[in-house]
């Protein structure tokens, strides 16, 4: 029999489906339940490095200190420090394109947090823009209990 040729190659469609579970842990759970039940955003403060991390974590990535008990409440308002516009459609994305993902530095926090920014034309987003959290009416026990952020309305 003859050797195989390149023309023998073809595409087979497959799928990979697997169940999994994610545990937020104690620190992550406190953050999420406070968000859900009190519409309050919390972080943890490293007193050695004098930095407030939002979302919170058990250890400071800089000095590796255990900071899990040093909770602080930060504001639901903050400023846009960076952003990108998602212009492609994919089933795993949380919105239809185009939509804005922004890095938002909440007042009282030292680390910006990524979230969806709405209520502004994607081409008009600016660094330093003041934004506020809009909470979701239904809970998913995830960071999407904040539905999105939107610009703070100008004073009338």
């Amino acid at each position: 029999m003859k050797n195989s040729e390149e023309s023998d190659s073809y595409i087979i469609h497959g799928k990979l489906a697997l169940p999994y579970t994610y545990f937020a842990g104690r620190t992550g759970s406190t953050f999420l339940t406070t968000l859900r039940d009190h519409r309050t955003i919390m972080g943890v403060k490293c007193t050695t490095c004098n930095r407030v991390f939002v979302p919170p974590r058990q250890t400071c990535e800089r000095c590796m200190a255990d900071i899990r008990s040093q909770w602080v409440t930060v504001s639901n308002r903050g400023t846009v420090v960076n952003h990108t516009v998602i212009r492609y459609q994919d089933k795993h994305l949380p919105r239809k394109p185009p939509f804005v993902l922004a890095m938002i530095l909440l007042k009282g926090a030292d680390t910006p947090m990524a979230h969806i920014l709405e209520g502004v034309n994607p081409d008009r987003v600016e660094k330093g823009m003041e934004v506020t959290a809009v909470f979701s009416p239904a809970t998913t026990n995830t960071l999407l209990d904040i539905d999105h952020f939107e610009p703070v309305a100008e004073a009338p």
Binding site: L18, Y20, T21, F23, A24, G25, Q58, T59, M64
Partner: protein, 397 residues
Amino acid sequence: MSFREKNRHVGIVGIGETRFSSHREDVNQPEMIREAVKDALDDAGLTMDDIDCVVHGNMELFEMVHQPDLWHTLGTGARGKDAFRLTTGGTTGGTLVGAADNLVASGMYDTVLAIGFEKLQEGHTTGGITNMADPLWARKLQSGALTDSAAVKAIAEFGADRAKRVAMLYRIIMDKHACLNPNSHRAFGLDWDQMEDLMENSPPLIGDLRLIHMCSQSDGACAMILSCEKKAKQQCDHPVWIRDHITVHREETLNLCVNHYPNETTHRFAARHLYERNGITAPLDYFDVFEMYDPSAWWGADWIRDFFLLEGDEHYRLIEEKEIMGGGKMPINPSGGVLAANPIGATAMVRVAEAAKQVRGNAGPHQIPGTVNHAIASSFGGTMWTILMMLEKELNW
């Protein structure tokens, strides 16, 4: 096989383990890893400032999150340091120690932190393993790491009655060991008089492989700190020296289901080469303890023969005469082994860690009697892959 001696000696100066459990809802992945890292740093009396490089690994597809090395930095302490991620299936933990050993021996880094972890409750272990098989053929047929092949072989060779008894005896011995180890995930308190009942009534998984024979799905992490000879002697009163290690892989993924014996396993191949190049002619006499990656009691019982280059039923007699318990001819898995806990990406490292603790003499309640000068640990994974690691109390070979 080409083989070069190390540029310099490498010693184990710190060992850390989490407790092993079926569930760790109280921590996320980096938080769990942090427990083992902190334990290893405390054990060594070091801080992250002393660590030059971090090697970190687990098995792909198990937690369904990818590139964990990036977001695990909070637990590994790798921020701003050289870091590598390694994943080689069940052997991962052994690969991590082997890589750390080579990184230090090469002269590139003086002190390396190796970390293996798994949170098996977060994923689907058997599903994950099945999806690593060849997608066009084997994925439809494979049942994870569950297989009846060792039982089929043992029954064909020794008869059903003896083979089933030896497998269950091995299982009960491992449980007795596990009961002494405070980190065990599974320690049932089994006794000899339960043999018949378990042989009959433990739920079957595949053929003669029953639930009681098989390892668990565990959550946990292990961390080890390795240093070059000079640093190790400064950092630690009694480093455990890694004399040599060998890695043997076989990539024959499709033709494993055979009933054609005998054939040389990667275990025997690895053992033969490792002992030859280190001048060890009677491994059963030379080593004082063996920590084996034994995914099931059937495999564990069978593999003793390959690892010690035994013939006929010598390995069966070691089990039947309980010579594999503490104080016996060759204590195997004083920790309880993989049947006691199996956080897969950490499991093979736990074998090295537990063997090293036996050498140090401070393993805890499961420390075996007598001095342990020479220890060996094995890793197992993939399509019958083997890593063997030789540990020494003294730098005198």
